[in-house]
Amino acid sequence: MAAAAKVGTNYTGVQMSPKDNKRLLDAVNDIHPDVPGDERGMLVERTERAAEADRIGSVPVPGSAKGMLKTGFDMMRGKSPEVFLDKLGERLAYERNGVRLYEAMIAKVKALDTPDTALVDTLTHIRNEEHEHMMLVHQAIETLGADPTAQTPCADVVGAMALGIVNVLTDPRTNVDQCLNALLTVELADNAAWELLIELAQAAGHPNIADSFTKAKTQEDDHLVKIKTLMRRDLIMQTK
């Protein structure tokens, strides 16, 4: 596997082909844009399309009698339990994706010329905790009488967000530092999301769920520190 960044024949910049790029600039200076305006027209159009758009989808109605009652009760009190359910669905999807990301990362670290068993152990530990968190959210959704197998709108959207991260982790050409950077993005967002989820559980009147999430938040704090430290240590060592 490729390790750190190396100097090579990167052809993308203008300095690699100054003559060609001078001629390109000559063309740009000779032939001007044919449509007047600037990028602000795109913003106007996007605003219009956003106003016209349908939503991504809906939060499914809880299927069990207990859940129906609970939802109905909260609805009658002017609350929106579907907002909390949607965020629970999001966290379940995110943690499930997280397990797969760490599995991809472990495979990458195992491909290093010098095996780093300590790093593999750390990643395996985090992977297992992500799995625990996923099951914790699964259980919370069931407690509310809702369906943990449904893909909620927020779950769908974090799936779209994760596509780039999946590509970075599973591309055999990316190195450990590039992947740690991707995992840092994942952990930063995850950390803030658990913090919010606990607040939402309390606001929605589910103190037991909020309590059960506290341990997960503590573990997520630990993930964030670990990933940040690993990345910093490795890059500073290479830079010095």
Partner: protein
Amino acid sequence: METISGIFDNKGTPLEKQKFTWKEMAGKPISKLDDDAFTRVRIILMNGVETDALRLKHGIARFNKELRLPLAEIRRVEQHQATMVNWLIGADHSPLETTVAYEQVAIEVTAAVAQNEPDRYQAQTYRFGLLEDFDHLYRYAAMLDRLEGKDANNILQGYTDLVPGRPISEHHRHPENDIRDNYEKGTAALITKIHAALITGAEYQTHDYYQNIGPLFADPLARQLYAEIASVEEQHVTQYGSLSDPSESHIEKWLVHEAMEVYMYASCAEQESNPRIKAMWERFLDYELGHLNVACEWFKKIEGRDPAEILAGPLPKMVEFKSQRDFVRQVLAAEVNLRTAGPAYVDKAKEPQSSLDYRNHLASQGLASDIVSAGYQWAPGGELMRKAS
């Protein structure tokens, strides 16, 4: 003009020895950053050629029971050739970056073909289409910069200009103005037939690519931009597809296509800078010679004719994979105002009402190509660099 001859005089690799493994087909991609842009141009082009080979042979098989098995045998190899070629594009290309590369293929290859084409009308047709693909590149470059914040020149590597061509707002035409006159099979040069097969296949692939990836975008303007340009690519397939003689038999078209594949792999192998990819082009050149020989045998058997009737004589030198900037600029200056009236090329002022009515209705609720490219002027590193200075 330099010529080559004798490239068809080799038996190539026998079909039964044309073998692949899944792992080699889904092998290591090229580097988006470190490989020359023309390596990617050749990869995209040859994937288009192979997928068109499949398309043509499926078409023939619909009309000929006897050929179904031999065509299926060759198609299986071509499917795997197409896979091995197309899987060389790495996943760090966003679909929009790959799109920019597709337009670079259309511009640089069509410009090379237009200069090598001996038939004046056919050459005019290539120049006409060229200015539209040139314009598509400009619109997509603006989209790439304004959607993903990326510089299209990272893909183009300075070989291709990024300025408006014939404005896309004037590309959409009534179908009656997209049909072209065809070459006459008895008098046309082999290279004329090869060019028509090549550019039709390349445009077909571009159309299919845009048609497939357009819905992958979330941004409504990007989705509409792909819809607008995919429709022009369908016009281009119509245009280039009508250049070939409809009275050629199915097997004759098969023979021309195989000859085109041989010529193109030879062109790729001759100019490839990446040794691993060069070895693949050479291997596939031998495979294609094997396919051509099978086609020749069936041509003799079914039509009772000598394949030399089609394949004899010299060909121009190989397709040149290099920046065609000077030629494109000349064509842009001289022919940007050309339009079509039926199969004829006319001045803008004489464009038929049928095309004007057709496009006015389509654009009556807005044209994304205009919106995304409004005022777009490329600068090294993207337009934000220009605005900062």
